[in-house]
Symmetry: none
Subunit: 153 residues, 2 copies
DNA sequence: AAGACTAAAGTCAGTTAAGGTCAAATGGAA
DNA sequence: TTCCATTTGACCTTAACTGACTTTAGTCTT
């Protein structure tokens, strides 16, 4: 567990949850100094852990006085919810993104931990049975069907 | 009796029983060095001695900072149950039988209706993505993993 | 206002660090 | 001998990390 990316992720999430609003602004280079890594690693963390699928929106500005703003987007309970989620999932999804999605549903208390565990199991890899590319499509299809099944009504 | 696999098995089990929690995290390559064997032998030990049938759950992560986590499923009535169910499912199952299985789990109040709906969605047909025969194997694999995931603890 | 300079952040391909898979070779017991 | 468990190694996939190069925005001269 001792990789820097995880530490940066935790740090950013704690910043957000401690902030009165649902966002933070950071400076990429400063953060890189704090964690003794190259600046581009911050981008790596952002793309692997703060994607829209994970429920975040990242805005930034270059040049002097530049910044990166990370906004947490709540999944609100309106009618189009399932549609939005389906759209986010698309017709193919990696295991990582699928798990991010599940994490988000838990946070929003739309599904329980047990339910998430079930879905996580279904969204795993089955290499001897399904080829890698097909797997991503299948995963998307199953995930969408499961989420629809549990969130309807 | 003094084959390496047995030694690795013993070692891992002692690690688990000496741990305050019911799991351990190891690094495959390090363990391989400790026992002077190739890394893939660790996988062999895991699949032959730490399967769900043996009451364990193995999770892992690749890449930098990767690890293997071995979780011991607490040995109560349910452990035997998982074993029985796994055996019933076998390595292939039709959609119909899968749904029957889920029906029974509901009756026994081992899973909720919502949970059943999720699982039902996951064991549906995905004809454009997976061939019929493969489908039955995949369904069995997913169903077993899901049931293990939800009935543990 | 234009151009030069400076201060950010972005991109992307390449390297390193894990673990996974599979099939072939080996070895021991019935 | 035959069969099954074990052992091995070649090759694959995934995740993390790095650094050179690019782009954008602000600031300072002239």
């Amino acid at each position: 567990m001792s990789n820097i990316s995880d530490l940066i992720e935790q740090y950013l999430k704690s910043l957000i949850s401690n902030s009165p609003r649902d966002f933070v602004e950071i400076q990429r280079s400063q953060l890189a100094v704090r964690f003794s890594c190259v600046p581009s690693q911050i981008n790596y963390v952002l793309t692997t852990r703060f994607s829209t699928g994970h429920g975040y929106l990242v805005e930034s500005r270059r040049g002097g006085g530049g910044y990166i703003r990370i906004v947490k987007i709540p999944l609100d309970q309106r009618a189009g919810l399932i549609l939005d989620i389906s759209e986010l999932i698309g017709d193919a999804i990696s295991q990582n993104d699928a798990e991010g999605m599940l994490g988000r549903l838990i946070e929003e208390e739309l599904i329980s931990l047990r339910e998430a565990r079930i879905m996580q199991a279904a969204v795993g890899r089955y290499p001897q049975l399904v080829e890698a590319q097909t797997q991503e499509h299948l995963r998307a299809a199953i995930l969408k069907t499961m989420i629809t099944a549990v969130l309807r009504d």
